[in-house]
Symmetry: C3
Subunit: 139 residues, 3 copies
């Protein structure tokens, strides 16, 4: 994985929602070494009142057009890599959609590699780790 | 953060849904020392069959009017503080809405402080922790 | 708990969505020793474009009819038990619904036993663990 949940305002078009999803995925591919075909997103559009966001926090102003991006992924990335990921997602979402970088809220939740099945009831990373003990950290 | 996901029955009014959200936030502010402007909630209303809840578990009876409250936050709170948070959320939701305290289901998921960006692609807590190694636990 | 989030295509019938939920729950009961009445699911049906899934990953082909199953539960299960859970969920979802086993994507997120309240503002497992230090791992 990652499994990514993206929550956007109801006024977001399908095209723009897809562009947010693509930007998040490409950042994960480029910075977290997530395979290109390791793509599992839930993109929801929320009516007014459903997406509750502070108008301002830690010096960042938020508009009504905010994007919440919650990424459940495997552990092991450095703080520096996480910082690079946030910067890249915010920049690319701003560049490719009508969302401002300031309005991109990101949260990572890390969970063990054995905690994933990508279909057929197999624990793909657990199996890979048994076969290749010094394998790649995976996604 | 926290990033809070609140799932309520479809029959909940907007006003009542907002009251649940406010009660959860104020409890986090008062008990978990979350800043007042650190507010990021997704409030969803679910059709019948979408919100599946046991009629009874560990001696608590649940009606059809249940509230699921999932709070992703930074780690470090004591068990006692978590217990105080649950008690406060349940009491205040019951006091301020039509939900019974027994119908407030709460789950915390803790994730590292470096796992948050509140906009502009910055890892706000990671930066703060570098600048102030003995800083506040944050939210 | 667990608290389970199941995301399915919008074309899934209510009956089929309920069957997926039941299959996931029964697997948790049988393999993770989750009590039968420890049932808390959010089942969402998603419009096209909202459920973004790779057509193929780690050798598994995915159709448009995918099921994302995210299970937040207590820690402590062995890798072998997790593998048995994935296999059982995939097999039973395929047997009882129109979903293929290959299209069942599963993710576990583990969170401390003190991180749950099942109503009335009580931290049920924290209380149980104080009273019975060598108690069952719980759900």
């Amino acid at each position: 994985m990652p499994l990514v949940r993206i929550d956007l305002p109801a006024t977001t078009s399908s095209i723009e929602a897809a562009a947010v999803s693509r930007a998040v995925h490409q950042a994960l591919v480029d910075l977290f070494s997530v395979p290109q075909d390791d793509l599992f997103h839930v993109v929801a559009r929320r009516a007014p009142g459903e997406l509750v966001c502070s108008p301002s926090y830690v010096g960042i102003e938020h508009s009504d057009k905010v994007a919440f991006v919650q990424i459940v992924c495997s552990p092991g990335r450095t703080v520096g890599l996480k910082e690079a990921l946030y910067a890249r997602i915010a920049a690319d979402v701003e560049a490719g959609t009508g969302f401002r970088a300031d309005d991109v809220i990101i949260n990572l939740v890390e969970t063990a590699r054995e905690n994933w099945s990508f279909g057929a009831g197999l624990a793909h990373y657990a199996v890979a780790d048994r076969q290749r003990p010094a394998g790649r950290p995976g996604s």
